[in-house]
């Protein structure tokens, strides 16, 4: 059952990303192009998603547990550390460069445009390389 919810949620998430325009790199880069022809409309996206989820999340967490699992598994880290900031900087540089972030990259592979395959393939390699190096924990 949990898997079915995840499958449907993933499908819905893809619909949302596509309708918004996140699967079109020039729209995303237009949003980030504050010093050029700034296209501010993507703010509406985050606004819509946050408006819904910030309300529903409060009601959901009043429950003792989620419907299909024993407990909620929310992020527990609280500290704003070097890893968080450095990670966000590295991610943001890549995001702006291509105009693609992880979700839209995966969804847009269906377009058949090779750009998304380059992006997602390289993203998976980046994740794997990070995981292999991070076991040594230097930061």
């Amino acid at each position: 059952m949990k898997g079915l919810v995840a499958l449907v949620s993933g499908f819905l998430f893809a619909m949302g990303l596509g309708i918004i325009g996140m699967t079109q790199p020039h729209i995303v880069r237009g949003f980030l192009d504050v010093f050029g022809a700034w296209d501010w409309r993507l703010i509406g996206v985050m606004g819509g998603a946050i408006a819904v989820h910030s309300i529903t999340y409060r009601f959901i967490l009043k429950r003792p547990s989620p419907i299909l699992d024993a407990k909620f598994q929310l992020p527990t880290k609280k500290d704003i550390d070097t890893r968080l900031i450095l990670g966000a900087i590295i991610f943001g540089l890549g995001w702006g460069w291509a105009g693609i972030c992880p979700g839209p990259g995966i969804v847009a592979m269906a377009s058949g445009d090779i750009a998304f395959l380059y992006f997602v393939g390289s993203m998976l390699i980046g994740m794997k390389v990070f995981q292999l190096l991070d076991t040594k924990r230097s930061l």
């Binding site: 995840a6 893809a14 910030s54 529903t56 540089l93 377009s111 980046g126």
Partner: protein, 136 residues
Amino acid sequence: MDQVLGGVIIGISATMMLLFTGRVTGISGIVGGILNPTTADKNWRVLFLLGLILGGVFLKIIRPELFTVISSAAPYDYVVAGFLVGVGTLLGNGCTSGHGVCGISRFSPRSIVATVTFITAGVISVVIFRLLRGEL
């Protein structure tokens, strides 16, 4: 209006995940968990990923114009960008969905700081990209 509707659909998706499975809908975390051999609960992650891919296929059939790519970026640009996104999202524990949507919805200070930081870095990245191509 389309864009607000899309945002609402994403909010509903994240709500379903939290209500039924108790998990945060962070795509980089979900994918990273699949790649990590020590992750115990891979099933829901793989099915969420499958949902994303099937959603993409469905959109490609009904709204192919949603995948228009207008960019002067070359293949190596996508390779470099993808690598940075992979490393950065795991180092910083999240991307646009996990920090930007779910984290901000929970008013998590970490996610607010991360989101402001990656949007700022994204703005700088676009400026550098355009400067290098003489577009600015």
